[in-house]
């Protein structure tokens, strides 16, 4: 996930009005996966094979990035939530107070736009529905 700092800033600004939840899913660039990104200070992570392993990696991720302290949950090893939201490798959503999808970011990494999420939050809080911006 990118732009942890910007998302943290959104959290700080809107947390009283909007619940923020980091949903930790399968690795985008596992060392032993299809598209490893080796070198350059990026984290070395093998794709977890148990829930305990995924929870451990999530713990380290949260601790070592600007997401530290934010509410977070970990997807099950069936990747059910990731599949339901087509969320891999990363993706931003806003669920409205009515339980409906208010904003659905385009798939990451290129669609992962904190600025678009911010606009959606503002629109939701102002009472209007918001659509994902066209790529």
């Amino acid at each position: 996930m990118f732009e942890a700092g910007r998302l943290r800033a959104l959290y700080a600004q809107y947390r009283e009005q909007v619940a923020f939840l980091v949903v930790y899913i399968r690795e985008a660039h596992a060392l032993d996966g299809r598209s490893p990104l080796i070198k350059g200070g990026l984290p070395l992570v093998e794709e977890p094979v148990t829930l305990d392993e995924r929870r451990a990696v999530a713990t380290v991720c949260l601790r070592r990035t600007a997401f530290e302290g934010m509410p977070a949950v970990v997807d099950g090893m069936d990747n059910a939530t990731e599949k339901a939201y087509a969320a891999a490798p990363d993706r931003l959503y806003l669920i409205g107070k009515d339980g409906r999808v208010a904003y659905q970011g385009a798939p990451g990494p290129f669609g992962f736009l904190p600025s678009a999420l911010e606009k959606a939050i503002e629109a939701e809080l102002a009472g209007k529905a918001s659509e994902a911006p066209k790529p």
Partner: protein, 274 residues
Amino acid sequence: MRSPLRAVPARALSMPLLGMLFLTLLSSCVCGKPPSCCRMATSAAPEAALPPGPYARDARQSAWSYLAAKYDADGDERITAEEHGRGEAAFQHLDSDKNGAITADDLGPGPVHGLMARMIFMHWLQDDEDPRVLTRAEFERGLAVVDADGSGAFTSRELARHMEAHEASVPGMPVPPPGMDPFLSLELLADEDRDHAVSTQEALAYFDAHAQDGAWSLRRRRRPPPGKGRPEPAAAVGETAPDFTLHSPDGKRAVTLSSFRGKQPVALLFGSYT
């Protein structure tokens, strides 16, 4: 903290400190923003507090060093499937050269780096009518522009400046995500003499190695057949969000999405560490 520090083989601890210094030089972010913008924020968390798991504790450890320490039980610099023991798919991914064992040679730049490198060149070195074709001549002209100080080579900084100053010229093509160092991909693939700069010669060698009829061209992406390609989300905008109950990383708190209905909107940030 409950968990004791996982026993680390002496071999991992003997990783050359020089190697760590070297990787420090490679890992600086060129976006110029404070470290919290980048994936790897600095953290003072003591090592003993980190839970055991399938990740390198030292973010600057090399991939081979990590894998060898963990799996190369007989120390012969080759990790067999038996030594690996983490599943066929994972082993096959790691054994890039398909010689039946994971070795240091398997851990070079991957397909993502090639894609990044080509995207960078296609985007930022175009200067004529057809944005879908990058000719060698365009490429050479583009390199001269990137190489602002005329040194005959360009560095991470020069490339970043060029990318900031110029719009990507291929409409509809994705751009490298913010915070990721695009130069790294070029460096991994083209910087033959390892001087952290890509010279005109090195860049042209890379171009020629991947050119057909002296040019690079973008193929129009065909729609994948039904059933293949990117899966669709279960709910579109305006539809009820799929419910879930998931637990916090420490396993202590359960969160059910539908519990927020009628109370608050929920921003969901899906992603992972890598």
